[in-house]
Symmetry: D3
Subunit: 281 residues, 6 copies
Amino acid sequence: MFYHVKNLQYNAKPTRPDAVYAKKLQEILGGHFGEISVAMQYLFQGWNSRGDEKYRDLLLATGTEELAHVEMLATMIARLLNDAPIGDQELAAKDPVIGAVLGGMNPQHVIVSGLGSLPVDSAGNPWTASYIGASGNLLADFRANLTAESMGRLQAVRLYEMTTDPGVKDMLSWLIARDTMHQNQWYAAICELEEKENIVVPSTFPRSLEKQAVSYEYYDLSGGTASKEGRWAHGPSMDGLGQFQYVHNPEPFGKKPRLKPAPLYVHDTVLPNPPHMPPMY
Amino acid sequence: MFYHVKNLQYNAKPTRPDAVYAKKLQEILGGHFGEISVAMQYLFQGWNSRGDEKYRDLLLATGTEELAHVEMLATMIARLLNDAPIGDQELAAKDPVIGAVLGGMNPQHVIVSGLGSLPVDSAGNPWTASYIGASGNLLADFRANLTAESMGRLQAVRLYEMTTDPGVKDMLSWLIARDTMHQNQWYAAICELEEKENIVVPSTFPRSLEKQAVSYEYYDLSGGTASKEGRWAHGPSMDGLGQFQYVHNPEPFGKKPRLKPAPLYVHDTVLPNPPHMPPMY
Amino acid sequence: MFYHVKNLQYNAKPTRPDAVYAKKLQEILGGHFGEISVAMQYLFQGWNSRGDEKYRDLLLATGTEELAHVEMLATMIARLLNDAPIGDQELAAKDPVIGAVLGGMNPQHVIVSGLGSLPVDSAGNPWTASYIGASGNLLADFRANLTAESMGRLQAVRLYEMTTDPGVKDMLSWLIARDTMHQNQWYAAICELEEKENIVVPSTFPRSLEKQAVSYEYYDLSGGTASKEGRWAHGPSMDGLGQFQYVHNPEPFGKKPRLKPAPLYVHDTVLPNPPHMPPMY
Amino acid sequence: MFYHVKNLQYNAKPTRPDAVYAKKLQEILGGHFGEISVAMQYLFQGWNSRGDEKYRDLLLATGTEELAHVEMLATMIARLLNDAPIGDQELAAKDPVIGAVLGGMNPQHVIVSGLGSLPVDSAGNPWTASYIGASGNLLADFRANLTAESMGRLQAVRLYEMTTDPGVKDMLSWLIARDTMHQNQWYAAICELEEKENIVVPSTFPRSLEKQAVSYEYYDLSGGTASKEGRWAHGPSMDGLGQFQYVHNPEPFGKKPRLKPAPLYVHDTVLPNPPHMPPMY
Amino acid sequence: MFYHVKNLQYNAKPTRPDAVYAKKLQEILGGHFGEISVAMQYLFQGWNSRGDEKYRDLLLATGTEELAHVEMLATMIARLLNDAPIGDQELAAKDPVIGAVLGGMNPQHVIVSGLGSLPVDSAGNPWTASYIGASGNLLADFRANLTAESMGRLQAVRLYEMTTDPGVKDMLSWLIARDTMHQNQWYAAICELEEKENIVVPSTFPRSLEKQAVSYEYYDLSGGTASKEGRWAHGPSMDGLGQFQYVHNPEPFGKKPRLKPAPLYVHDTVLPNPPHMPPMY
Amino acid sequence: MFYHVKNLQYNAKPTRPDAVYAKKLQEILGGHFGEISVAMQYLFQGWNSRGDEKYRDLLLATGTEELAHVEMLATMIARLLNDAPIGDQELAAKDPVIGAVLGGMNPQHVIVSGLGSLPVDSAGNPWTASYIGASGNLLADFRANLTAESMGRLQAVRLYEMTTDPGVKDMLSWLIARDTMHQNQWYAAICELEEKENIVVPSTFPRSLEKQAVSYEYYDLSGGTASKEGRWAHGPSMDGLGQFQYVHNPEPFGKKPRLKPAPLYVHDTVLPNPPHMPPMY
């Protein structure tokens, strides 16, 4: 259960409106690796977790913080949209400042949300739950989380480079710092689990059941051999259980497939000698 | 540029048809962490890479292999659908085998694809490019790849548990082994980069520009203190540049936001004393 | 900013697992009118609100409660999935109970989430932010909220009818009661605004600018006149500013449109006498 | 069954082309609350209606009118795109008018539709049926319709403010007037039903089955008490069946959930003492 | 502008309810090649058409008929859902008929639409406007229409095979016949245009501007030479302007691409010698 | 199975960067009729094909070539993005060139991909597998392919008109030529099949089972009779099996539908005399 306080976790006040930047900033609010994604991803992982309370707490605590980041960005975007201009093309063209603004805005910031933030990314795509992953396997999930924080901090840094507004930079410097923490934090949790389980997810599948002959072969299927120098192409494997082998343009192991003709009742293309096969009902 | 040979990379032949399992197997063909996702993710990362040829080669080589896995799964699913039954509810109910099959199939496997595989997941959602990530920052990208292989192998293992067909298990044992390699491989590439760049992505953002006071504080915003015991709550940070601090229910740093009323021309709710503000054009 | 406590707002414990019902219950978690939708809708409306603090508080308070409902449903679904069966078609057909379960489950509840809830609806579609509305006009928004609570309670009631599990019914009886409150609450807020603004949204657009001749005409464009008896076809209009008129099969007011042929540079279909028109650059 | 006449319901002719405005106008054609949405929503509600002919007629008649509005907007947008410029960045920059146009257009208006309208919104998102609601419960559905007309008229009014073209304004003044009628009309239909059924949807669920103790409690879960003054926090409830109660920061009623560990066959994270539990098949 | 009559274009009455078949039938209502798709595709093509009135009329007339087919299918599906069972897994398992029904239904047919049709396909995916094409080039558009009618009739035929209900078969025999007409009709329109424009779309692009050396070469990039026997590999090209050539495993014409390193301000991976390049602002 | 070589199939090098054109060019990379669509469509059709090896080879060979086109476009787009400007609105407005660029870019080209191509269209919508069709019926599939190549070449030609960059034009002249070949090729394959099967898909459905009385009637449901002159309205049908008939405003053949009231357990609107009907369980 959640409680809300009206104070923001940190400042979210631009020095001046900037409706074009508002559109860009949407990326880390409602984009693939934005704050809605991490909030939902961590909370679902936490709610679904069936094990160690320590990790459940970690997930729910961090997911709850991300909700505060959604709020900060929503607030910042609304303020960047203060008094956003509207107006037609002809007038806009006469004033290059307004023209640039009108051309670069997301029109839904006026038409749909009335100068409010939207749950969309910087190209206007609505947030979708297909962005997130929560598998029940914590090592897989924590890797997804480390990825999300890496992508998220990268995008926040790029957005930092794209503005000169001290208020926006102030807020981003906070979010970037929290992403530093969160990368460190998931990294720490991953290390704990990898120590116990080794690195290959899931660790519980018996090795004897996989085709071990190819578990450590690197297949170079792209012309040239530049990748031969990589660590993945020689030496002991990272899980310590095999030796990397470099294989250039490996041959296929399988046969040419030939599919059985379709029964008549699916009306695929007519073949010279179609198989007789009544529907199964 | 690509060349195709008709042989499969490995066998993809079930012992008997199983239209219900065909639906389930779609997950690792067209799902979030299925083979289309990894093929597209690695290829786009490779095509976009602006740096070391070694990594470019690694990405394109592995992306090309994943196309072969898409092909294997497409073939296997088509074969699992051989002579899939069709028929109505009344007749189905009389034969529990057929009833179970009809109830559990994806009807599009007959109606739409005529007993072919579909570019969808096990719930029938079409594959979408919003699943993939390619950021231009290789450490972020390799983490996304390790995540994808972890999720992908986990799902393949679960699917292995869900069938008794030796032919299907044979193919999965291959894919699971290749996922073992690919987890090792991205792990190796990550280690190389982390050694050079330390662990926080992106490594090129000056530390002085982030709000360093909060870069290593763990905020426990969920009741209880179970997560206090984690490695993330004390000791040196994983990047070696700070000390983790545990903070229970941290106070907000920001103020209560108050947004400027909207100008009349957006027709938000009328306030008692609406601000006078003509449209900017 | 948010704080989380580990206790659920109310019980969420089924008497026994029921993986098929878990799939159905997803509707009010991750469907169009599920709890994620109302949580996000109210919070975005609240964060974007530029007016009366009373309404901002109302929106944020209720949005925060909805997060607790998301949590309850996620927990309930995970428990309904406890020890969900897996297995193949042939074996399933031998045991009708297992067959029914396997046929009716969402396979992603095993393959993707490992017996956890998913941010999807009962047909497996991922939640999308295109479900929600937050316009900056509170009367429009509160109507959207009343709609969401009406649809939501209706779906919860239907789900109540679809189970005999006392634990599930207990939780639903809570959610249904809260939806009773929330319908009452948005209704109250709507009444306040309608009293001030009259009923047509937005109230700030000058009436003289709309084509008033047709502002109260009911156009019956479907054969028969059954709808003539409705309140909307005669008497004073609901906003008290006009008289409803019933018009059967109204004539068009406009002309047959004729579009200007496309310039050659867009390569539309060739016309006998294409217009000469160089590209504008 | 439908019949079409070539005349438009009302004029849809701009005074001059304006490709940037064409992009914006897409919102009320193919957006969440655009004309495609209302046409489809009312028609599906009508086709599915199992009751009073009067309401069925109302729904089908109004849905049919909305198809005419789709046509008017499609025509207007095609005309706004007449001779839309194409051209590259360098040339565009020399002429600010063309630059503003090129920057602000939806490029698909040239590349995809060849100067035609698109079934998308103003940010370019394709229309999706997940926008609409048709529940079989008419009170819920009519509320959805009132919401759609409120949002739709609001957006049309905002678009009216965003242009100075008399032809566009003329068409919008018609659509805005029809939305006035449609808000009045659904309002009238809602009143009829609320008189019979009271206000809480669905009215057929026995009150004794809901957790009545919390059916009229307002939970203020967001810091401060501004919302305490609202009508929803005191006095008789709007349905006349209870008394509103204001509760500040209510305590949880439920326990801390603890989920049963997952069986081994789903390969969630390994726990120290994993439960023994063979797959159910 | 449209007018609706209450009579259906043709009968849409099943002999008995069949909730499982209702789910399947959704494919040709709300699927990729269902009736909503063709209705919207033809209408948008018609509204956008800038040329010959004959084709505009053809498009609008046929689009209007497709609306009647949407209506017939919506009605049929609602009737197939009459008294659809609900109920839990345990009870269902006791009665195989009910079990089969419950397992095979789309749960949204109860929970969301209350026994009404939905604007979704047979796997439950909501209809999306990204299915349709309307390019302004009529030959391209008519080919899209012929494709849609081919896919649509194929799916209707498959659905015909999947039921024994005489009422359903009666309706499908009508729709299949209309698809016969519509395939013939688009075929006729295509022939008219191909006679005038030859077969390659668009016909207005000067041949001298394309790389004519490769305009008629068939590249066999998949092992084996089975496709060498096809008409496309030898003889005069179908447009009569060239000679087909068969080329086995053609060599690349291009170079190995090498992308310029990214400027520092995008924070891609650090290279040993990053280029000096200040942001352009 | 696939092999990759580093050389591009053809050149993909612009003369100068053009970030705005990069956004536009995305349409034929990741749009509805872009190269990802045709690659996936042909490969899935090939993998699923259950018949003549000649066609299977044709599909896989061409699908493999399309992967090379995806690569060329991804490379071209990355190069067009070289050193793309970033920066804020105020500065942008001072320099019209930069202003035009910033306004017209897809911001995700910086924030998300770090100057790389994206799997999206020119409006920023992610590629989705719902674009493609693979039915198992080759005549239907080849028509879908001819449509895709017609739309694809049309879009490439429009993009050719939208740039003056010789490098971009060079690449497009190649792609346009290959589309010429591919239109010819699918045309040839279609002719082969139509000769064997006649033109109506599927050819295997007994004509006696369709409602033949309406198989060749053209229904003009849109006012006026312009379409009466078309080839589809008179003379022998294109399949040679009937005579086209022109019918103006045809009467409905069906009755007014009346749906059975819903059972109480779905809680649709209350009717005066609701039917007694216990849930079926």
